[in-house]
Structure formats: structure tokens, C-alpha cells
Subunit: 183 residues, 2 copies
DNA sequence: CCAGATAACTTAGTCGCTAAGATTATTAGC
DNA sequence: GCTAATAATCTTAGCGACTAAGTTATCTGG
């Protein structure tokens, strides 16, 4: 392969990852949330709740999403309203609110991902073992890279302006939506 | 490779693509928008404007993003306010508003992506030609798959409820944010 | 020309977010 | 045990971005 052809290939991969795939992923998740009748942020939180290997508290959700505690109260209200999750007070520490996915939540969410899951399996069948390992390696590398670049930009931004009240909770690590904290 | 090991590999790829990468991509784009001092939606629109190979009208932005014309008016207002784009009336059809990226827009946005670009190049250097081709093929396949599944879900959703006033503009195909149209 | 279609803007209302403070529960010091 | 400090969530006020509906300006076909 000529070096110019290779650099065009690298360029195409960048465009597909950074532009196309990100857009389509966002649109897909928005569509799933629409189907569930909730906002994208609520869906994201439901994901955190359902996938965690331990009971999740309201405060944990705030840290995970970068939202304020007040916003999380609203998220849980709406998830309860939609019958997808419910609150319980932690008996050991009655200040805490533990959020649990409703028993029926999985059976309402799963069908929406079923088509994608089947398609992904079918897609994988067109790749041999070695190729799939390459794909996984590349994705893991990309994750690492994206995370690092995001942290760099966030640090740069906070270090640069360093003015308005940016002392929200505990330096929220993973913004998933909502407004900028600079107002 | 045993078949169970392979299916675990496929599972891991799915999680990385559908969960990790999508989250990190959203957070990254949110961070870029924060750095520019605009909302994520505005950044997305600026992307459409800058990357298009033809002048973009307000109506086109509405179709591309799935937002209403009123929302686009606000987007363009804010992009103008930030000095990143400007309006012009189309001389041929004076109803139309053509949006153009400001000359300085690129030099303000590009630095934010520079680090990621360099990292992506460095990452690519760890893969040989054949491996990169596998990655590209997989990504293109994924794009196709995501698009198809999104369309399927949207069609299912609209076909299923078919009640409230869902006659917004021209059946917006690519929602990028904002609220659900069902209220 | 004039009626209808089309493009963007305007306005009113809604929703989800932040920030700040109130409320309730726990823990530590004395 | 009482008090103060701390912690976790909820409440409230205000804001910004969005939708839906209506308005204005322009274009197009009879």
C-alpha cells in the first residue's frame, strides 16, 4: 500500500469514528429514549442503574452523570413516573436514596436493543477470529484515547478561565448532557 | 479459538461500541462545545455548516438536525453571537437564509481537535495496513447497521402510537438533541 | 395578477437544568 | 445525651433551549 493511500485510510477511519458513528450513536440512543417515553438523560441514568453490580444511590448518579443533585431528583421522579425504576431509603443510612430498576424495566428496554444485537451478531459472523481481535484492540485503544483527550480539554478549559463558580459537587467526571456549568 | 471465547469477544465489542464509546464521544463533543462557549447542538450545527460541500440554508439545518425552524433561528443567532457563523439572504430566493462559517471559525475549532488527531495518528501507527482495512470495514458496517436500526425503531414508534400531533416539518430524520416530539 | 405554497422569524408555553438553600439523618466532640 | 458539624436528598427560583402555532416576506403556478 502506498503511504498516501494509507493516510487516506486513516483519515476515513477518523471521519467515520469521530463524525458519523458518534452522530448515529447519539440519534440511536435518543430514539430508544423516545420509544421509552423518557428523556435521553433519564435513559442514560437507567443504564447506570441497571448495569451497576451494586445498588446505586442518588448521589452516585449525580457523580456518574455530572448532574446536580437537584437534577437527579427529577430524573428519579420521571423514571418512577414511567414505572422504570423506584426509590427506596437505605435502612442503614436513612439519608440515602437507593434507586432500583423496576422488575419490568429490562423486558421493556431489551426489545429495543434486540434488533441491534441480532444485527451485531450477523455482522460479526462476517469476520474471522483474528479480525475481531483487531477490532476489539482498536476500540479499546480508541476509548483510552478519547478519555485522555477529554480530560486534557476539560483541564485546559478550567485552567484557562478559572473565574465563575465552577465548584459544582465534586468536579463531575462524566458529563452526559445538560448545560455548561459556566454561566 | 473456542466458540465461547469468540462470543465473549463479540459481546465485549458490543459493550465497547454501544456503551463506552458512545458515552465518551458524547462527553468529548460536549467538552468541545463548552470550550467554544456554545451549546452542543450549536456545535453540531456548526459542524454541518462547515463540512457541507455547498451553502447550507436554515431549513436544511432543520431537516438535518430534526429541530424546528424556530429552534434553528436560535441556533444561528447564537452562532452569530459567538462570531462562529453568519447569515446571508439568498439573492436568488430572498426567503432563504444561507448560513456560512466565519473565516475564523476553523482556526478556533481546529485546535480543540488537534490533540485527538495527533493521538489518532499515533494510534494508527501501531496497526499495519491490513489491520486498518479491517477496522475501516467494520466501522462502515457498523454505521450501516446503526442507521438501519434507528430507522426501524423510529418507524415502529411512529407506526405504533400514531396519535399526538407528530406532523413536525418533514419527518425529521436525524434528531441530534432536544426534547421528544410527543407531548 | 392573485391564491396557495414555502422559508424564516416571532411568540407563548414547557421542560430539564443549575445554583442556592431548606430539610432530614448521621456522626463527632464534649 | 446534647450540640454542632457534616452528609444526602429535596425544594425553589430562574434560565436557556426547545416545540407548536401564528406571522411576515417571498416565490410560483394558474
Amino acid at each position: 500500500m502506498t503511504s498516501s493511500r494509507r493516510s487516506r485510510l486513516v483519515e476515513r477511519i477518523g471521519v467515520q469514528l469521530g463524525r458519523e458513528l458518534s452522530t448515529r450513536t447519539i440519534v440511536f440512543h435518543q430514539t430508544v429514549a423516545d420509544c421509552l417515553g423518557i428523556a435521553a438523560t433519564d435513559h442514560k441514568c437507567l443504564g447506570f442503574i441497571a448495569e451497576a453490580d451494586h445498588p446505586v444511590t442518588a448521589g452516585e448518579l449525580a457523580t456518574l452523570t455530572g448532574l446536580t443533585s437537584g437534577a437527579i431528583t427529577g430524573v428519579i421522579d420521571r423514571l418512577e413516573g414511567a414505572g422504570l425504576a423506584f426509590r427506596e431509603r437505605d435502612p442503614r443510612d436513612r439519608r440515602r436514596v437507593v434507586v432500583t430498576a423496576a422488575p419490568t424495566a429490562h423486558e421493556r428496554v431489551a426489545p429495543l436493543f434486540e434488533g441491534l444485537g441480532r444485527a451485531a451478531l450477523k455482522l460479526a459472523s462476517r469476520y474471522d477470529d483474528r479480525e475481531l481481535e483487531v477490532v476489539e484492540r482498536y476500540l479499546v485503544d480508541c476509548l483510552e484515547m478519547m478519555g485522555e483527550e477529554t480530560r486534557r480539554l476539560q483541564a485546559e478549559r478550567l485552567g484557562a478561565q478559572f473565574s465563575s463558580s465552577n465548584s459544582s459537587s465534586s468536579g463531575g467526571p462524566t458529563r452526559v448532557g445538560g448545560r455548561s456549568a459556566s454561566r
